[in-house]
Assembly symmetry: C2
Homo-oligomer: 181 residues x 2
């Protein structure tokens, strides 16, 4: 969650910071009153997949907050040391225990309000044996007319699913870029 | 630049942190020995444009390190409070003083080694009056055969320019996703 002004102490020396505009900059940063270290805060990336088996899509019911009990596509925060594709693959394994073959990048959705960019890749499930991790109550395949639209956890997941079914009907998968207001 | 283990003090209370794997996690984080705050470190996003006027592309010669004196497409770090498109527009204004109309997202390039994801949008220049900011020595339009390939600052810029000229020759612009090794 985007929490401005949350850096109260310097990561380098522990002294208190104050928010001010550094020289040669044009916005406020947490600047250390001791050593002068400047702390930048930037949006972070969430990466996930649309795992497909025949005409069905795999959703996971969340076992953690926020939105515990709601359905999501497997996704989570991109980590240092991995690409967006590697992160999407890892999250699909961790949350659903599903074996997939990654296909193309499918959606790039800005969620400016919370300082996040969400990436979803299309993916081909290799089998239907799932093994959900602790963050997931259950993993289940849904046909389009079975999708629990009112119980989808996040707008980026809903938009990604809508784009997926629309493109599938048209027979052409494109990369969709958008903003969640 | 991706600098692991750089968080030595807690941002909330200033006490020293140690790197260890928190409960319910699977990788090391800086955990505060005082209040228990967990500090996550994630890749950050760089956003920019390929600004085009007729058959020429706008490049900026860098006035700052790294790669001072080398040529780049206008680009910089995505900030909180803006979308990737808004950030790309802002950087094009700040670095080149160029007026553009944004077109589609064009490249998404992972630079895992430094913990960055680079996004470039295609853009139509509205005129050829540039007004470079302090981070830029000069802004100049280049035809394909004039591009100073040996003096391009970053691999993501070189790859983006290559994809641009290839797609222009084919007459179809796609979204290119890749990794810089």
């Amino acid at each position: 969650m985007f929490e401005p002004r949350r850096i109260k102490h310097c990561r380098a020396c522990g002294n208190p910071t104050t928010y001010r505009v550094p020289n040669d900059d044009n916005r406020e940063r947490a600047v250390c009153g001791g050593c002068g270290e400047i702390h930048y805060e930037n949006p972070i990336n969430v990466v996930g997949t649309v795992p497909v088996w025949e005409d069905r899509v795999l959703l996971c019911r969340r076992n953690i907050e926020p939105r515990r009990g709601f359905w999501t596509l497997p996704a989570g925060f991109l980590e240092l040391g991995e690409s967006t594709a590697e992160g999407a693959l890892r999250e699909t394994d961790e949350e659903a225990g599903a074996r997939i073959e990654l296909q193309g990048l499918f959606t790039v959705l800005n969620v400016v309000r919370v300082g996040q960019v969400h990436f979803f890749y299309r993916a081909q499930l290799q089998d239907t044996g799932f093994n959900p991790g602790p963050e997931t109550i259950e993993a289940q395949l849904f046909r389009e007319d079975e999708i629990p639209w009112e119980e989808i956890a996040f707008r980026t997941v809903r938009d990604t699913l809508r784009h997926y079914f629309e493109d599938r009907r048209r027979g052409v998968f494109e990369v969709h870029v958008g903003d969640i207001s």
